[in-house]
């Protein structure tokens, strides 16, 4: 499952043209193709093969993300939440997943403990992970989570910020942010009693580290199991060679 981030070296000469090709490594477009074939063993094969892509969160698809979360997750998130998950710094970890060009799932995360004085190591916190019911058991959730884990471990230059509509763009607001540090730890909350979800995280190297009572205030049960993956690199099987592909 390798991303198409690497730019093909231009095979043409630029002599004689005014502008030189610019480095594309920061420019990933909105979509990334996913290859699910290797991970669909032991399940019924889908025929014909379907194109699956990841798409960044933008103002454009914010409505889709809201709708997705509202039907899959029994918690209502605020406008603020939806604005924060579009932060350019989170672009490579927060994604919608499209199945045959239809949005069917999404992952929203944030980073904790990025500042130097933090007691805990930098952590990827998974806030929401949603897959529409008919599309479960197609490995989409795993792919989505793996892609975020991988991105956390291998930071890239964030995409350019999108100018806002109200035309108050200053140079500062349009400056591309500095790259993030490597993040090798991940954390997720699973509602007490949700064994499927727990197993899902365990398969990817997460372990239960404790319970947070009253984590969910509006839904029963209120408690959440805290699941932590202490070594993302190991989970991805690439602790020796950070650039190796799966």
């Amino acid at each position: 499952m390798s991303k198409t981030a690497s730019t093909p070296t231009p095979t043409y000469s630029t002599a004689g043209t005014v502008s030189a090709p610019i480095d594309l490594s920061g420019l990933k477009g909105e979509h990334t193709k996913l290859d699910l074939s290797s991970s669909s063993k032991g399940k019924k094969v889908v025929k014909p093969n379907v194109k699956v892509t990841l798409t960044s969160l933008t103002v454009n698809n914010s409505g889709t993300l809201r709708r997705m979360n509202s039907v899959v997750i029994p918690i209502v998130y605020s406008d603020k939440f939806y604005k924060e998950v579009r932060d350019p710094l989170l672009d490579d970890v927060n994604k919608l997943i499209y199945y045959a060009d239809i949005p069917v799932g999404a992952i929203c995360c944030k980073f904790d403990n990025l500042s130097k004085g933090s007691k805990q190591p930098p952590t990827l916190v998974i806030l929401t992970l949603a897959i529409l019911a008919p599309y479960r058991s197609l490995n989409l959730g795993t792919s989505l989570l793996l892609s975020s884990l991988k991105a956390a471990l291998h930071p890239t230059t964030p995409p350019p910020p999108i100018p806002s509509d109200n035309k108050t763009n200053t140079r500062a607001s349009l400056t591309v942010a500095a790259p993030r540090v490597k993040v090798n730890r991940a954390l997720a909350h699973v509602q007490v009693g949700n064994e499927d979800a727990k197993r899902f995280y365990e398969r990817l190297g997460f372990k239960e580290v404790g319970i947070e009572e009253n984590y969910y205030s509006k839904v029963e049960p209120h408690g959440a199991i805290i699941m932590v993956c202490e070594d993302i690199a190991k989970s991805l099987g690439e602790s020796e060679q950070p650039n190796g592909s799966s």
């Binding site: 198409t4 093909p8 231009p10 095979t11 043409y12 630029t14 004689g16 043209t17 005014v18 502008s19 030189a20 090709p21 610019i22 594309l24 420019l27 477009g29 909105e30 979509h31 193709k33 960044s56 933008t58 454009n60 060009d101 995409p159 350019p160 999108i162 100018p163 035309k167 763009n169």
Partner: protein, 163 residues
Amino acid sequence: MDIRQATIDDLIGMQNANLLNLPENYTFKYYLYHALTWPELSYVAVDPRGRIVGYILAKMEDEPSPNTEPSGHVTSISVLRPYRRLGLANKLMKQSQEAMVAHYKASHITLHVRKSNRAAISLYRDTLGFEVHAMEKGYYADGEDAYGMRYLFNKKSEVESTA
């Protein structure tokens, strides 16, 4: 959907499709200018009722200096939302590109895209094979930058001959 060269009769339909789908719009005269200067380069996709559901409006870069090679340019390309997933954009682009080579000996084709329009960037790069080759500061009326994207024709023929 029927794919064919755009004629004068199609221009109102192209203008309509453009207004339905895209935020960059032009008055009729601009379409006339394209069709009456480079009649072979614009194409339309037409539904069974004769409605224009996709188009490419294209031109050659004007007045090439003696040392630059002729270059095609996509002014606008669009496929109405209900007509996606038919590969129409690809087909329209291919027809226009082949016409640029056949009639104007174009060596490459360029287009502009808003820096923030990442969906379009993906389409041009991943589906249509374009690469970013320049950035134009403040290209759009509202001050946004544009990426200049380019596709080289000889590269394509190499791929074809090795395939």
